[in-house]
């Protein structure tokens, strides 16, 4: 990791961690969402950025983590166990579902991954005996004043993001990262050179699922109630790749940058442009595609070369 990247990330972490001292709980909540989305974006980066497989399954893993975490927590387990359960459930699901959808490429993979979100949402809705169906699932309300809870969840989400970040560093430096980059450039050639493409893809998919599962479970504990429509949100599943693209796919800080930028952008925009916020978000996406093909990181790189 370059020194400038390391510094930037350190500043980011410290800035988020310091929000309880710098602002009120609303600011802390925004910071928590920044960390939440950064974790999701970093995890997407494994399968979408490094391996080049455009996954829209993020919401599937977040939702699955939410339900797994909620059910385990409701069964009496302590919080952290619930969150681990969420991470585990999503990881295992990624192995099983990956075997199915990773055989597909390009558009078909994208469609297959979105289908996963819908299928899980419908299943959660149908299996009401377990999940409460459309009525949703209550999660035990955590004792503690608003300040405490705000801090706890800020640090939990931040921790998940940092873990995802650490994993990214390790992977990018190692053989897996190299293999994924080869797969992204030309999968058949990579196969021919002896790279175990199927295994690498599945690992990438699992890595993309685990932080989502943990974040989803933590979210469920935080909000104390989950229901299928919001747990498996199509909007979330599309926003996350957009964040990574905004920041710079396949890079280390791209996902962090993109997630932060988009969350802050949304906060500033919605308050001011009540009726048009969706169009503005759409416009941002369109502008992004045309003017920032390499994301913000790509822009910085172009700046460097001039």
């Amino acid at each position: 990791m370059s020194p400038s990247n390391a510094t930037a990330l350190l500043v980011w972490i410290l800035a988020l961690a310091a929000t309880p001292l710098l602002g009120d709980n609303y600011v802390v909540k925004i910071a928590t969402f920044v960390a939440f989305y950064a974790a999701l974006a970093l995890s997407w980066n494994f399968i979408g950025g490094m391996a080049g497989y455009p996954s829209f399954a993020t919401a599937a893993f977040v939702g699955l983590g939410s339900y797994a975490g909620a059910l385990v927590q409701n069964a009496g387990a302590p919080l952290a166990v619930g969150w681990l359960a969420g991470a585990l459930a999503s990881g295992l699901a990624a192995v099983a579902l990956g075997a199915v959808v990773l055989r597909l490429r390009g558009h078909y993979f994208a469609i297959g991954s979105i289908a996963l979100v819908e299928v899980l949402s419908l299943t959660a809705s149908w299996w009401s005996g377990l999940t409460g169906g459309g009525e949703g699932l209550n999660v035990a309300f955590l004792p503690g004043g608003p300040d405490t809870i705000a801090r706890v969840f800020l640090y939990v989400m931040l921790a998940i993001a940092i873990l995802a970040l650490g994993t990214t560093v390790v992977v990018m430096r190692g053989r897996l990262g190299f293999a994924l980059r080869c797969i992204s450039q030309n999968e058949d050639a990579a196969e021919m050179v002896g790279i175990p493409t199927t295994r690498c893809k599945i690992i990438a998919f699992v890595l993309s699922a685990i932080p989502c599962g943990a974040a989803g479970a933590a979210y469920a504990s935080w909000v104390a109630y989950i229901a299928p429509a919001d747990a498996f949100s199509i909007l979330l599943t599309v926003k996350v790749p957009v964040m990574v693209m905004l920041g710079g796919a396949g890079t280390l800080i791209g996902p962090v940058l993109g997630a932060t930028a988009l969350v802050l952008l949304e906060e500033t925009v919605w308050a001011r442009f009540l009726d048009l916020h969706q169009a503005i978000l759409g416009g941002v996406i369109v502008a992004l595609i045309f003017f920032l093909p390499g994301g913000l990181v790509g822009l910085a790189r172009r700046g460097r070369s001039t």
């Binding site: 558009h107 149908w126 009726d275 048009l276 969706q278 416009g283």
Partner: protein, 289 residues
Amino acid sequence: MDAALLVQVVLNGILLGALYACIAAGFSLVWGVLNVINMLHGSLIILAGYLACSLWTEWQVHPLAAMLPVGLLLFLAGTALQVLLINRVVDRPVLTTLTLTFGLDMVLYNAMNAAFEATPRRVTLELGRLTLGEVVLPWDRIVAMLLALALTGLLYGVLRASRLGRAIVAVRMDREAASLMGIRVARIYALTFGLGAFMAGVCGALLAVVYPITTNATGQLLGKAFIVCVVGGLGTVPGALAGGLALGVTESLGGHFLGPQAAALLGFGLMLVLLVVRPTGLLGRKGYE
């Protein structure tokens, strides 16, 4: 369970399936030829629906008469959109094109919500029912099905018989070769996208008779289009028909035997199964991923 009910269920599925085929035909064409997933498709159908409803309430224009002007309007809009924006990213990876059309869809969706509210609207044509013994079929659905079949048939004819159509098919099969043959690929892309939008337009006008039109439905329509394309095969009209009918009948039978919630799940299940077993779809051909 009695035979009449089973016949009813299957016929319901076929009527529904024809509509699904119509919904998906334009989408499938664009995906197959341009290799672009047009996330705007659902919103375009609803836009056409709103226009048809407005023409009906303001000037009593019959939806069948509205189909053509609405379709043409959308054709022009679609072509313009493709030429100005989408053409620039046609060669880029899946994620880029899909995200671009998703972003454009958000803009369109917001605009529609602002212009028309989400209150459901429909064109009320009381056409009555056809009763064959114990089986009851609504006339407006039958008419819609026949029209849907006619439209898809027309599209098929255009693709097969006209010069433009053959050029589109040529581009779909092999872009480089088509270009070498003197076909202006960029123009074909624009016209194909426009044609896809036209199909969305006539489909929307048709749907306004059968369903309440509301912006909430855009995602559902797009979802059905996806499934139909995957199940039936990309870029071909027979594919859209096969996929539509397969989906319609599966949902209808599944819903009957397992309950309505299962029906939706089965639709996606069908799609996933096909993705794994035969990704090119029931009638699709390899090479169009």
